[in-house]
């Protein structure tokens, strides 16, 4: 059997569980200073005065950086990174000062003594579909069209025998990887060296060199081990800029890490979303109209538009379709990427709407989806490279025992619980971006793979090794892997579920070229024989097609009539994501994604405090993420999917597809259990308790 497809354990697993793997913050160059951030306590206005006198007099304190003494920075297209450049405050928690001291505790204590006064103005923090300042952005995140209109949705809605008109909302969602954002910065003359918790050091280098006006060659960024990101470590964050700036000003290395509380505000998060869904169908279940109007927020300084309605464009065949995005700038932290941007909140809305439609039509929700399966991508008119949603739904229904399901809601009682099941469909793009990779053969039979991939805990290091071994026809144990360093051949960031496909293609190309070169090289020199590949041309030459992974999620929910507490005893996800390169790490991604979707459905709730103009709950005691006890038996299966129209790796990416449909499946199961349709996540006991029948 090829080494591809084998369930190899993570290369660095032992180091991680024994604590010897070093994350960015764990490095302490000689002379390092610790930095602590002072955050604004108003949400809108200007800094009147900053008094750092007391802080500077405290033991160990070396410097207090404010807008008055910070370096002037260049705009690299992300105003979040223009830290300490002006008096202006646009949201609570913005950086107003950075304290540098010999120890972490000295810096923390001194930060509490920096006194900042403000001229405060009223703050606006309330998202609504009628907000007077809503506007249509030029495009959404990832450059999708803001609006897309096909046919006449209004007419179709007017004419259809069955329609659904419902509004669904999701709260702001905070990524919260285990490892906080952290950077260690050190200058060597005019060269900058960063250890950074980032999903992609090439992207980070582009940003950092632009912000500081440095040639990219003089910036080196490394990220050997990264403790999760979920999108929040995609773009460079203020921590990296602050550390580099401070290190420059004090002439010593500087290290910084966010506290958990700081991560709620300085690391990005998913905008809250409101989705107005309207569906029209013939009595036989065929959709005649799909309308998805999405609303979200951006911050006053930076626009990031969650592409909530974009997945709806590719999901179902309907002659009349409308998808729009409107946003409003609020005095809250800047939204950014979070696992499945667009798909995650968008599919919660669409797939809840489809469940409501199935009930209104009296058609099984699995069958309703199959009935509306498009032959080609409804949005682009292009062929799908492969689309096995129907296969996922059918296989899932069989494995879950769906056929025995009584469609009526609120009729299954087991003791003090009501029991129900739900289904939802998933879609996520299978994209690829250019990468480079180098493989070197050595006379001793070993090979070195050098590719600037990033392993954010997914097992990427292991999978790139497998791809290299496969391309060379050798055992995985013959490969030494080097990743996570801008000194290596440039490669895609770990994100958008495109990492493995992008790195893998470059590795396969390098492997093939190296095998050829070896044929004509009688003796490998001691310094090794290297081949460098670049897939820019191949990626540009790909035919235009609709490339997506698909999946179906099935969930059982139990609702406690006494308390409104929801538990999920079992979940099943069946996925069609191309070739699965490592079943062990892929399964972890599917299960992890479904867990995060469960957490979104039942637990995670960022509470906006309108008075304080702030997210009120900013720690793990109050921002609840699913605990082990909440996570049921999660069953995952994938279809054998051969897709010759994607990259030669044959894989579609598995990082996000597991998450995106889960919340809808949970909400649909809760409806089936109780007859209560919760259209505003999370499904907390208070949203059910008063509508539940008496348990006695």
């Amino acid at each position: 059997m090829s080494v591809l497809g084998r369930p190899l354990a993570r290369l660095e697993g032992r180091e991680k569980v024994t604590g010897s793997a070093r994350y960015a913050f764990e490095s302490s160059p000689p002379g390092v200073l610790y930095a602590w951030i002072v955050q604004s306590t108003i949400a809108n206005g200007t800094i009147r005065e900053i008094d750092s006198g007391e802080a500077l007099g405290m033991p160990g304190v070396r410097f207090v950086m404010t807008w008055q003494n910070a370096l002037a920075l260049n705009d690299a297209g992300d105003a979040e990174l223009l830290v300490l450049q002006s008096r202006q405050i646009s949201y609570r928690g913005q950086v107003v000062a950075l304290v540098l001291a010999e120890t972490l505790e000295q810096a923390r204590e001194a930060a509490a003594q920096v006194s900042v006064t403000y001229d405060s103005e009223p703050a606006d923090v309330s998202l609504s579909t009628t907000h007077p300042r809503l506007y249509a952005p030029a495009y959404t995140n990832a450059m999708f069209a803001t609006d897309s209109v096909v046919g006449d949705v209004e007419a179709a809605l007017g004419a259809a025998p069955v329609t659904i008109d419902a509004t669904y909302s999701t709260p702001a969602a905070f990524n919260n990887p285990m490892e906080p954002h952290a950077t260690v910065a050190e200058w060597h003359g005019d060269d900058l060296d960063l250890l950074d918790a980032t999903q992609g050091t090439n992207w980070a280098r582009e940003t950092i060199s632009a912000v500081f006006g440095l040639p990219p060659e003089s910036v080196r960024i490394r990220s050997q081990h990264v403790g999760g990101g979920f999108g929040s470590k995609g773009p460079t964050r203020p921590n990296a800029v602050l550390a580099a700036m401070a290190a420059r000003l004090v002439g010593r290395p500087v290290k910084i890490a966010y506290t958990r509380q700081m991560m709620f505000g300085l690391s990005g998060y998913r905008s809250p979303t409101i989705s107005h869904i309207r569906l029209a169908a013939e009595a036989d279940g065929r959709l005649t109209a799909v309308s998805h109007e999405a609303f979200g927020q951006v911050s006053p300084i930076q626009e990031f538009v969650e592409q909530t309605a974009v997945p709806t464009r590719h999901m179902y065949a309907a002659p009349n379709r409308l998808t729009t995005h409107r946003v409003v700038a609020l005095n809250l932290p800047t939204p950014s990427y979070m696992r499945g941007p667009g798909e995650t909140p968008g599919l919660y809305a669409l797939e809840s709407g489809m469940d409501e439609l199935a009930a209104a039509l009296g058609i099984d929700p699995v069958e309703l989806r199959i009935l509306n399966e498009p032959a080609i991508d409804p949005e682009s008119g292009e062929a799908f490279s492969s689309r096995n949603l129907v296969g996922c739904l059918r296989r899932g229904a069989e494995r879950f025992g769906w056929s025995a399901r009584d469609p009526r809601p609120a009729v299954r009682r087991d003791g003090r619980w009501l029991v129900g099941t739900g289904v939802a469909a998933s879609i996520y793009p299978a994209d690829v971006v250019p990468s480079t990779a180098r493989i070197t053969a050595y006379p001793n039979g070993r090979f070195e793979l050098a590719v600037n991939a990033t392993d954010i805990g997914t097992g990427a290091r292991t999978v790139v090794m497998q791809i290299a071994a496969d391309s060379l026809g050798v055992e995985a144990s013959c490969i030494d892997v080097r990743i996570g360093d801008t000194a290596l051949p440039a490669a895609a960031p770990a994100g958008a579920s495109w990492g493995t496909a992008s790195w893998g293609w470059a590795i396969m190309k390098a492997g093939a070229a190296l095998l050829e070169a070896l044929q004509t090289t009688p003796r490998i020199p001691d310094s090794g024989l290297s081949v460098l590949s670049d897939t820019a041309e191949e990626v540009a030459a790909m035919t235009k097609m609709a490339r997506f992974a698909f999946g179906a999620q099935f969930v059982e929910a139990r609702v406690d009539l006494e308390s409104g507490e929801v538990t999920v005893p079992r979940m099943l996800g069946v996925f069609a994501a191309g070739r699965i390169l490592n079943p062990r790490t892929a399964r972890a991604q599917f299960v992890g994604g479904m867990t995060m979707g469960l957490s979104m459905a039942l637990h995670e709730d960022a509470v906006v405090d309108a008075n304080a103009a702030d997210y009120a709950n900013r720690d793990f005691a109050s921002y609840h993420i699913a605990a082990h006890a909440d996570v049921p038996d999660i069953d995952v299966e994938w279809l054998d999917e051969e897709d010759g129209n994607i990259t030669p790796t044959g894989g579609k990416g598995v990082g996000e597809i597991g998450m995106v449909g889960t919340a809808a499946a949970v909400a649909n199961a809760v409806w089936h259990a109780t007859g209560i349709r919760v259209r505003d996540l999370p499904i907390h006991p208070d949203k059910l308790i008063e509508q539940l029948p008496s348990p006695y």
């Binding site: 509490a112 308390s563 109050s622 006890a629 006991p685 008063e690």
Partner: protein, 330 residues
Amino acid sequence: MKPFGYERPVDLAAAVTLLAERPDARVLAGGTNLVDLMRLGVERPGLLIDVNRLGMDGIEPMAGGGIRIGAGVRNSDLAGDIGVRTAFPLLAEAVLAGASGQLRNMASVGGNLLQRTRCLYFADTSKPCNKREPGSGCSALAGSSRELAVLGASESCIATFPGDMAVALSALGARVEFQTERGEHVVDIDDFYRDPGDHPELDTTLPPGAIITAVHVPGLPVSARSTYRKARDRRSFAFGLVTVAAALEVDDGIVQGVRLALGGVAHRPWRARRAEAELVGRPVAVAAIERAIDAELSEARPTPENAFKVPLVRRLVTGTLLRLAAEDGR
């Protein structure tokens, strides 16, 4: 955080003397609450007095079937004690319903009693909070109040006592034993906790300079058939939205004795004495229980965000008592 001193006295007398000398000192037990609050800048002690080696970690029988639980007993050890599990099931269940295994291994009985509120504003030094900074105002009244009090709150504070163990102790009518320079004192748990009134900065009536030494749990026949029920936003590692500690003695379908305390609804563990009085002598039936709990809740003053706690209390209490009645003892 602010630099602080650390002392580990060798005996209780030395600890009490040191505490009396140093008003800026705080007692350190497991540290699971205190150290968090120090990191947040909510607590800024100049000295920590470690009481972990004072030998307060035993569970001993008392006359009449009661027990004396040392203040230093770890939550895990309390919950695992076979005597406690048999005679006071609700107490073991309450402890196990709290926090996580790791925290319970560190957390002490004394520290658990004195854990501070989880009101979001108490922990956020950038916002007003009368409990943290008397006179600064209450941010919760017009802010996020979903978790906060519906009973016994005041204009100055709607914080809740967040703990579980003390709710069970309240139902059991436990007494708190503590030591000051003037000697040993024992106070009913009902008089130990207090309503916020105009002084929400005081969680309890414990005088300054006091070190809790033990908790006395009286032996009661009613406690053998008892349980603890906690409704929460996730299955573990979450504070209760509403919790119920209940003990019931039934004869021939008629309530002979009942103990009922509520958590998550007030500034203190809320002993539901009115409901208890309504229930005794009545049949264990839905209508009677609901009438009793409605009497208890007649003075509930929920905010729009936490109004759900009222029906939640009703359902939880009713269900819990019916279940206890259906049990054939244990």
